[in-house]
């Protein structure tokens, strides 16, 4: 996938789309089984993608009718007309258009790989070139990767989470993004801070990291080494659980038949090109080290 140029990627829970560069993610919700994201620009054009896990047999026509009927009901409440057309593109995909006070072009399909029904539509005002843009954007939507890693893309950050890890917590704030994942007792935290030149103006990276970052690092006896990331300033963090309280936590994890997350590994680096600080931390059991693979899959600029 190419993330550079006049386009950018937006994505949530492994469903990604390539959109024009001035678009950005504006709403997300739900989980891997059922969720939604919206990306839009200032002019009111928007891409909406919705997915839902289903059984093996699914009636796509019925799903689309339900969706369009819902839109019709809402249009009636606004006292607006509603017209739609459905076309079958191939066995696994339906395409549709609708026109009301806005107009849209979309498609609905069943992905056998992820077992999800995905409905995507690009909508805009009556004078917008929706069909032209839809023919470029909608074919770029991907709802799974071949190796099972899940892609997350927002505000120029593209990262992937390993199979089995589900999103536990997210913070999407101006200048700070955090995605925290969990698989049993293992945790993976991806963070990005903006304004690196400001936050590191009077502090070394190590000092700043000790103060501002380091989730649950108190449980681990950790060491921090300064490393070079292709010419960028960076830190490598590694540690092991120590102390009475963390050991009791490990023991309680063992009681639930989970391998305790006894190890901590992480990388922190400054990307001068994008003026941002990135951090990945993995709290994992022995032999579950996924940090380097996560690092390889992060696009920082």
């Amino acid at each position: 996938m190419s993330y550079k140029g006049k386009h950018t990627w937006v994505g949530w829970q492994g469903v990604v789309a390539q959109v024009p560069a001035d678009w950005s993610l504006s709403a997300v919700n739900g989980s891997e089984n059922s969720g939604y994201f919206r990306a839009d620009n200032a002019a009111g054009l928007m891409l909406e993608v919705k997915w839902q896990k289903v059984g093996k047999q699914v009636d796509l026509h019925r799903k689309l009718d339900e969706y369009l009927n819902d839109l019709r009901r809402r249009a009636r409440k606004r006292r607006a007309d509603f017209e739609h057309k459905i076309k079958s593109k191939d066995a696994g995909m339906l395409t549709f258009t609708w026109r009301s006070d806005r107009k849209a072009q979309g498609r609905l399909w069943h992905c056998a790989e992820s077992n999800r029904v995905v409905i995507a539509q690009l909508s805009g005002g009556p004078s917008d070139d929706v069909s032209g843009l839809a023919s470029v954007v909608l074919p770029t939507i991907e709802d799974h990767t071949e190796d099972g890693w899940r892609t997350w893309a927002m505000y120029d950050l593209v990262a992937e989470s390993p199979p089995g890890y589900s999103l536990e917590k997210q913070q999407l704030m101006a200048g700070y993004i955090q995605l925290a994942f969990r698989k049993g007792s293992n945790r993976l935290i991806i963070e990005r801070w903006g304004l690196a030149n400001v936050v590191l103006k009077n502090q070394a990276l190590r000092e700043w990291f000790n103060q501002r970052a380091g989730h649950d690092m108190g449980q681990y006896r950790s060491s921090i080494e300064e490393v070079d990331f292709d010419g960028e300033r960076g830190l490598q963090v590694s540690g092991r659980r120590s102390g009475i309280q963390p050991m009791l936590k490990s023991a309680s994890e063992l009681l639930t038949l989970r391998k305790p997350a006894a190890c901590l590994d992480g990388y922190v680096w400054v990307c001068e090109e994008s003026n941002k600080v990135y951090s990945i931390q993995s709290m994992h059991s022995k032999g579950e080290d996924i940090l380097d693979q996560v690092l390889e899959r992060i696009e920082c600029h």
């Binding site: 001035d22 950005s24 505000y155 101006a174 200048g175 903006g194 304004l195 400001v198 103006k201 941002k276």
Partner: protein
């Protein structure tokens, strides 16, 4: 009815409705510093604002009683100082956002959200006003 309302609200400011701006209008509006404030860049490069205290009888009495200084000082951080300097009545909100995006390499949406929140905060504290369509709003 609206004429009565307008007349009454001239004398009772709490009755005045706040004008609602569209996104385009808000981006075109020009933030302007309050001319009653004194400000200067400090040695560290941060902007320091001196806000004079109220001069009415109660304020003068309280100031004397608590030995409060005649002005209040607010120090803006580096990013805030840059935004403050751009609020000269010439740059629109759009221009402020673009300048900050370029300078700090921020994503446009992220930058727009944080600059808008910051300008709103300055506006709420009456440190700046917004010129909309050639008129001063505050």
């Amino acid at each position: 009815m609206s004429a009565v309302y307008n007349t009454v609200s001239q004398y009772l400011p709490f009755l005045r409705k706040k004008p609602v701006l569209s996104r385009d209008q808000a981006l075109r509006s020009k933030p302007t510093r309050n001319p009653l404030l004194e400000w200067a860049r400090g040695e560290d490069g941060d902007v320091r604002l001196r806000i004079p205290r109220r001069k009415d009888l109660v304020a003068r009495f309280l100031c004397r009683m608590f030995r409060a200084p005649d002005y209040k000082e607010i120090v803006l951080d580096e990013v805030g100082s840059d935004i403050w300097e751009l609020c000269d009545g010439e740059n629109g909100v759009e221009a402020v956002v673009s300048t900050m995006c370029r300078k700090y390499k921020l994503n446009r949406r992220e930058c727009e959200t944080s600059v808008a929140a910051y300008l709103k905060m300055l506006g709420d504290r009456r440190l700046i006003g917004f010129q909309v369509g050639g008129k001063r709003k505050k």
